[in-house]
């Protein structure tokens, strides 16, 4: 191998490291040359790292927290999911048994947690997302001076984060005649006796969905609004000349394609928000588990096993299942809105 060739190989290798594609097995070269080559790129890499030492120092504080509270927990969850662990004795490796039990014998999980989670997420996720987009679009159609106030009105509910939300809704949904909704419906003669909106298993899911939808115009909504406001106006003019007739066509052919990145960000936020808000059932009904498991979600199931029964291994397996679910739904939205020309 000539010197020149070797140099080219080295620079190719270092280019690979820059792109972080794992360096492929080097082309068949004599063992000694291979070692020398690897040493050379290692040296170059180290040198480069040393040149950029300040950059690493800058990212260090965040990366430490990121590793400690996100990366390690995710890896630990995956590790623990293959063990039986009661938080006192050492975890014991039991292979796939947690997952087998989860998918074949855990009746509460199969009968309530999974269907509830799917029902809730399928309505709240896409529903909230589409509503966010539509509302954001409607706001951009309004006179500019009023936009700010309508944005505020739509966004405000999402500020009633977490627990405050159930307090906002409880007086309205309260099960006796003092509950506002009940009293209005009674007065209108639509119902004859008060409905237990949050404690009856038939209505809990509905209440959960309504309250979550109500508060779902959050960060994703703002992102889509910003995206809409920044669509190049000339595109609309051009579209009209090219024969775009209705506003629907305008949305479909011009607006959505030119704000795909924001749509994707909104979708990611919607998915995360949806899976996160599963605990609302417990907060609304005030009991855990919810009445007859009507609002039982995977996230409640994790809490149940993790912090009440202390079966950490099984709880970890459940979290892994939830993570996979989140990942898959994100993949789906990625394929819908992700840009095709990857970096």
């Amino acid at each position: 191998m000539s010197n020149k060739q070797q140099e080219a190989a080295i620079s190719a290798a270092s280019a690979r490291t820059k792109l972080h594609v794992p360096a492929a097995v080097p082309a068949p070269v004599p063992a000694e040359a291979g070692i020398r080559k690897r040493e050379a790129w290692l040296l170059r890499l180290l040198k480069e790292i040393w040149v950029y030492r300040l950059s690493y120092l800058f990212i260090l504080p965040f990366m430490l927290c990121f590793a400690a509270f996100i990366v390690v927990p995710v890896l630990a969850a995956i590790g623990l999911s293959f063990t039986s662990y009661n938080s006192i004795q050492k975890p014991q490796f039991i292979g796939w048994r947690n997952f087998q039990y989860m998918l074949s014998q855990d009746l509460i999980f199969l009968k309530y947690a999974i269907p509830n989670t799917f029902k809730f997420s399928l309505i709240v996720g896409p529903g909230g997302y589409i509503a966010s987009f539509l509302l954001a679009w409607l706001i951009t159609q309004l006179p500019a001076r009023t936009q700010r106030w309508f944005t505020l009105a739509m966004y405000t509910p999402s500020l009633t984060i977490g627990i405050a939300m159930s307090i906002v809704w409880l007086p309205l949904l309260s099960g006796d005649r003092l509950g506002y909704l009940n009293s209005v419906l009674l007065k209108l003669g639509l119902i004859e006796s008060p409905i237990l909106w949050v404690t009856d298993k038939a209505h809990l899911m509905g209440s959960m969905i309504v309250t979550t939808l109500w508060s779902s115009m959050g960060v994703g909504f703002l992102a889509m609004l910003a995206g809409l406001l920044n669509v190049n106006k000339e595109l609309y003019e051009a579209g009209r000349i090219d024969g775009v007739r209705s506003r629907l066509q305008e949305i479909w052919y011009i607006t959505i394609p030119s704000m795909k990145p924001q749509m994707l960000f909104g979708a990611v936020m919607a998915i995360v928000g949806t899976f996160k808000s599963g605990a609302i059932g417990v907060q609304l009904s005030g009991v855990n588990p919810t009445p007859e498991y009507a609002g039982h979600m995977i996230i409640n199931h994790i809490d149940d096993y993790g912090f009440i029964r202390f079966e950490m291994g099984y709880a970890a397996a459940l979290s892994v299942f939830l993570l996979v679910l989140m990942y898959l739904s994100n993949k789906l939205s990625w394929s819908l809105f992700g840009s095709k020309e990857d970096e």
Partner: protein, 296 residues
């Protein structure tokens, strides 16, 4: 050219006509929807100021007729029996939120700057990891988080509240996207003038990115202010718990009874109003940041 000159006025006039009727209808619709969206919040405001006898009125009245501060007093009385006064919860929450906002924005900006502007080995890997974790809710891995916190020995300390909040991938993501918009020439000019990397960061990047910094600060505040996880899992000592946790204990005793509803309404006002005020002031900045939020 000719064709365009002919076509253009016709389209414009049609558009103008359509806007009027459509917008008027839309305004009415959006107004009604806004009323619906804000109804629960208006209700909670009224509920918070209702005196005792009005809370139990039948049929219930939406608006308060004789506003009083009874419920505020009631809220303080709830905690009078317990060892931890409400002011302690409130103090914890304010302290945690203040430190968390400063720390989160600082740490996130420090991390976002090199990822955006330095070509250090691994910057792509770091960023794609952050984008990947955008997709996960940390709630899903509460148990290992609990184990990490107890291993680190920061249970029952303010660190236990604040450190987990620092890992906020959305913050780094938004800041990085915003910093991408800064022309390299601007930074290069400062470097040629002899500014160190930290000065470039502090004097140029941060001021230019103020909208994004403000947005991240808002998100950090919301996270910290509403956070129940750290109090209920990492804090065994009652005096270390936060106001949001106190509020959640209020609801669990609330159930379906009306007695504490006034007090709970006051408490949720305390949770809600700071968020609203901060957003009110920074709304424009948030929208400016979100323009660059897209995931490409």
């Amino acid at each position: 050219m000719m064709a365009r000159a002919v076509v253009f006025p016709r389209i414009r006039s049609r558009r103008l006509k359509r806007i009027d009727g459509f917008q008027l209808l839309l305004l009415a619709f959006m107004f009604l929807l806004s009323v619906f969206m804000l109804l629960p919040i208006v209700y909670i405001f009224n509920q918070a100021f209702k005196p005792y006898q009005e809370l139990f009125l039948y049929p219930p009245r939406f608006f308060v007729s004789h506003p009083s501060l009874d419920n505020f007093r009631e809220l303080f009385l709830v905690t009078a029996r317990s060892t931890v006064p409400m002011s302690r919860y409130l103090f914890n929450s304010v302290l945690i939120a203040a430190v968390a906002v400063i720390a989160v924005t600082g740490v996130s900006a420090l991390c976002a700057f090199p990822i955006s502007k330095h070509r250090f080995p691994g910057h792509r890997l770091v960023f794609s990891m952050i984008v990947l974790t955008l997709m996960f809710a940390p709630e899903a891995v509460q148990i290992p988080r609990y184990l990490v916190v107890s291993e680190l020995g920061i249970m029952n300390t303010y660190f236990g509240h604040i450190l987990p909040l620092l890992a906020m991938p959305v913050g780094v993501f938004l800041l990085k996207q915003f910093i991408d918009q800064i022309p390299d020439a601007l930074l290069e000019a400062a470097r040629i003038d002899g500014a160190s990397e930290f000065i470039v960061f502090y004097r140029i990047v941060i001021p230019v990115c103020m909208p994004a910094v403000a947005t991240v600060a808002i998100l950090a505040f919301q996270n910290a202010w509403g956070n129940v996880e750290s109090s209920s899992l990492f804090m065994l000592d009652e005096s270390m718990k936060s106001f949001s946790f106190f509020l959640s204990t209020l609801t669990s005793t609330l159930g379906n009874n009306v007695a504490l509803q006034g007090a709970a309404a006051v408490a949720s006002l305390i949770m809600f109003v700071p968020n609203l005020i901060i957003f009110l002031f920074l709304q424009g900045k948030v929208i400016a940041t979100m323009t660059h939020s897209g995931i490409k």
